[in-house]
């Protein structure tokens, strides 16, 4: 591994962490699409900054672009406040318009400069090691590393300083207000951080990867934990993992590093989405199936309780009367037998004492209809779940 390769991975990892932190809060606050809007609409800010300074490396560019990002958020909110359209429509109206202005300005007045739209959207991580900072002839490392490093430092400082405020205003804006800190300040603070991070990162990795790095790790982490601190740490881990793995995949395929990292983020999310222990797709489907069978079982024993006559309690009756498929009735019967809710003699089903008690309580539940009570009851009575 050459030093350039190492530097690229370090920069990508720094960007990943710097994006994952504000990204976590954006996902939790249901504002994930704002990052997409910001990443596109900073374009005119960059172009205007370039017109003023005629220098692509000027800090004014970053400042103006970040301001455009915050301006986007303000515009979206203003449009939303008029109640003429919903929030998502407001987002969808603002950023393409600003992006169009940026594209037109570039095409019209700045066609010959390096600021072409491909680079803006896609970035070029592979070139970052060539753009270095020298002090007195001494090599200080790639410029991007410094830019994103400083942004990350500020982000972490702000996160540690305002962790409590961020947490409360994210989960309970009303409580935050009553405790005396303004959710608006926190909101705009978060938006500013997201905006600055986007600008700082996209020079290296491009607009789309910024969005991917903000949302995908946070979304994956969200499916694995309910603890905010753990979620932030997990998101950072997923981001760094995808950055490094993505880099090597790109190296192997000889393709875009940014695209490869985004793909890796997608793969990580897909795995988490499918296999997360309690919130993953398979877990959810399994739970749904389990509940369906248990509901069927409860329906069946309620039927048993209602009917003492032998004919109504025959096993075949399940298929005829309740209209179940063979396999389903078998599963239901097995579950009931395993849990000792009823016994079967010569094809006749009769409730056991335990089954009787459960049914009585279940009827109580249906009458009072208190939520969650039935789950507790299942825990009490069921040795095996469906």
């Amino acid at each position: 591994m050459s030093s350039a390769q190492l530097e690229i991975q370090i920069i990508a990892s720094l960007v990943a962490i710097a994006c994952a932190i504000p990204g976590t809060f954006l996902v939790l606050r249901k504002m994930a699409m704002i990052s997409d809007a910001i990443s596109h609409s900073i374009l005119p800010g960059l172009v205007i900054g370039f017109f003023i300074t005629q220098d692509l490396n000027s800090p004014l560019l970053i400042l103006l672009a970040a301001l455009t990002g915050v301006l986007t958020v303000v515009m979206v909110e203003k449009i939303q406040q008029t109640k003429l359209v919903k929030e998502d429509t407001a987002i969808g109206l603002v950023f393409p318009a600003l992006f169009s202005i940026g594209v037109i300005m570039i095409a019209k007045y700045a066609n010959d400069i390096h600021l072409d739209i491909d680079a803006v959207l896609l970035g070029e991580l592979a070139f970052t090691p060539f753009d270095r900072i020298y002090y007195d002839g001494f090599d200080l490392g790639p410029k991007s590393m410094w830019v994103i490093g400083i942004i990350l430092l500020i982000t972490i400082t702000l996160l540690l300083a305002f962790y409590k405020e961020l947490k409360i205003s994210t989960f309970d804006a009303g409580l935050a207000t009553s405790l005396g800190f303004s959710p608006a300040i926190i909101h705009y603070g978060l938006m500013s951080v997201a905006s600055v991070t986007t600008v700082g990162a996209f020079d290296a990795v491009g607009a789309i990867l910024v969005v991917a790095l903000m949302i995908a790790p946070a979304a994956s982490a969200y499916l694995l934990t309910t603890n905010l601190t753990k979620m932030i740490l997990l998101a950072c881990f997923f981001g760094v993992f995808s950055a490094v793995a993505g880099y090597w995949a790109a190296n192997y395929l000889d393709a875009s590093i940014a695209g490869s990292i985004a793909t890796m983020l997608g793969v990580v999310f897909l795995i988490v989405y499918l296999f997360a222990p309690s919130k993953g797709l398979f877990a959810v489907l399994y739970r749904e199936k389990q509940q369906r069978i248990e509901v069927s079982l409860i329906t069946f024993i309620l039927h048993l309780k209602n009917h003492h006559e032998v004919k109504e309690r025959h096993v075949h009756h399940l298929n005829e009367h309740i209209n179940w498929q063979k396999i389903r009735s078998k599963t239901v019967l097995n579950l009931g037998l395993k849990n000792n809710l009823f016994t079967i003699q010569h094809g006749i089903v009769s409730l056991t004492e335990k089954g009787n008690e459960f049914t009585t309580r279940a009827i109580d539940y249906i009458i009072t209809n208190e939520d969650s009570q039935i789950e507790d009851m299942k825990d009490d009575f069921f040795l095996f779940r469906g």
């Binding site: 997409d36 359209v85 109206l93 992006f99 169009s100 491909d118």
Partner: protein, 374 residues
């Protein structure tokens, strides 16, 4: 170039005619379908789909090795649909909200598409040049067959809309009711989503990935301000979308170095801005005017009510009082007072006012009405 000359050119010049027709048809169909996206609160779905279509284009090229528009569009359609279905899977089966799902699919699919595109570029002997026109769109690459394809899809879409109009409408405004009526809501849902995906995919070539979402939203958002009827909204949105296409093409073709896509989007944005401000019932301008009118009305009535309370303690209702007294209560405005005089409810003598019989009557009525309202 003046307007007459331009119009002549539109009819005589093949390229200009194709582009104008193409953008008009595209604007029409996206406007039409965008209305449904906006009303279903799926505004950003267009953004996500247009990004999610990219890997499909790349994969279609990798498999077939052809740059035929139709083949690439089928690839885009499939990957767009996969993206849409995955978004639905995320929002229905996990706790993640729709905005997270959208942003995630959008960026990850697009990143994957970029990976494939750069991978293709590095392949030897592949004539891959031109694939990236789908990124930013190049209206200039439109040819007659593309316009035909768009028109066919638009026609198809119109027929389906007319056939399923009732179902779409019920699904939009009351999904549960649609279900109880026995409509297959899943099928209708899939149908409308597929058409939205199809329209977006068609637009990729013209305006590109990034700006496609605006094409879908802007005409619909503008049309929404002018009407409360779904039919009219869809019709208006189609007209506005088509005009944005025509005007945008016209503006960009009269200037050097102006790409068509962004100009169309900006024209559409101007439509939205205009509608936001000037629509008679929902527009900001008239809303503000109504607000000021109501405020004046309230002030006028407030002053009258105070005057009435003052004279209640007097036997002679026309007994003059100093204007200063009104200040002891929460005041009055010169304008309100002048209005009262104009309506002949009050007579002014220097700094003294007195209610006229007409004023007393109006004030009593107002008071009675208040009582009645309570």
């Amino acid at each position: 170039m003046d307007i007459v000359e331009y119009i002549k050119l539109v009819f005589s010049d093949y390229t200009l005619r194709t582009i104008t027709l193409g953008t008009a048809v595209l604007g029409g169909v996206t406007g039409m379908l965008g209305s449904f996206a906006v009303l279903r609160k799926q505004s950003l779905l267009g953004d996500a789909i247009s990004h999610a279509a990219l890997p499909g284009i790349a994969i279609a090229f990798l498999i077939t090795g052809s740059k035929d528009t139709n083949v690439l569009l089928i690839g885009a359609l499939i990957s767009g649909l996969i993206g849409t279905l995955w978004i639905r899977g995320i929002t229905t089966k996990t706790h993640l909200k729709s905005d997270t799902a959208l942003g995630l699919i959008l960026s990850v699919f697009f990143g994957f598409g970029m990976l494939l595109l750069t991978f293709i570029q590095k392949q030897p002997n592949a004539n891959q040049a031109g694939l990236d026109k789908y990124l930013f769109g190049q209206a200039a690459t439109l040819v007659e067959s593309d316009v035909w394809l768009m028109s066919i899809v638009t026609g198809l879409c119109l027929i389906v809309l007319l056939l399923f109009w009732k179902e779409f409408k019920i699904l939009l405004f009351d999904k549960d009711y649609a279900q109880t009526l026995g409509f297959n809501t899943k099928f209708i849902d899939l149908l409308i989503t597929s058409f939205i995906v199809l329209a977006i995919v068609l637009g990729l070539q013209t305006v590109g990935v990034v700006l496609m979402s605006a094409m879908l939203l802007a005409p619909a958002a503008a049309a929404r301000q002018w009407t409360n009827s779904l039919g009219l909204m869809v019709f208006l949105a189609a007209i506005l979308g088509a005009s944005a296409g025509v005007f945008g093409t016209a503006i960009s073709s009269t200037q050097n170095n102006l790409s068509t896509g962004p100009v169309i989007v900006l024209v559409a944005s101007v439509f939205v801005l205009f509608s936001f401000i000037f629509s008679p019932t929902r527009g900001l301008l008239f809303k503000q005017i109504r607000l000021i009118q109501n405020r004046n009305d309230l002030e006028f009535q407030k002053t009258l009510a105070f005057m009435y309370h003052i004279i209640e303690d007097h036997e002679d209702s026309s007994h003059p009082h100093a204007i200063k007294i009104l200040n002891n209560f929460q005041g009055y405005s010169r304008k309100g007072l002048r209005q009262l005089v104009n309506k002949n409810y009050v007579t002014l003598h220097g700094n003294m006012w007195s209610l006229t019989p007409a004023g007393v009557k109006a004030a009593t009525n107002m008071y009675n009405q208040n009582l009645k309202d309570e």
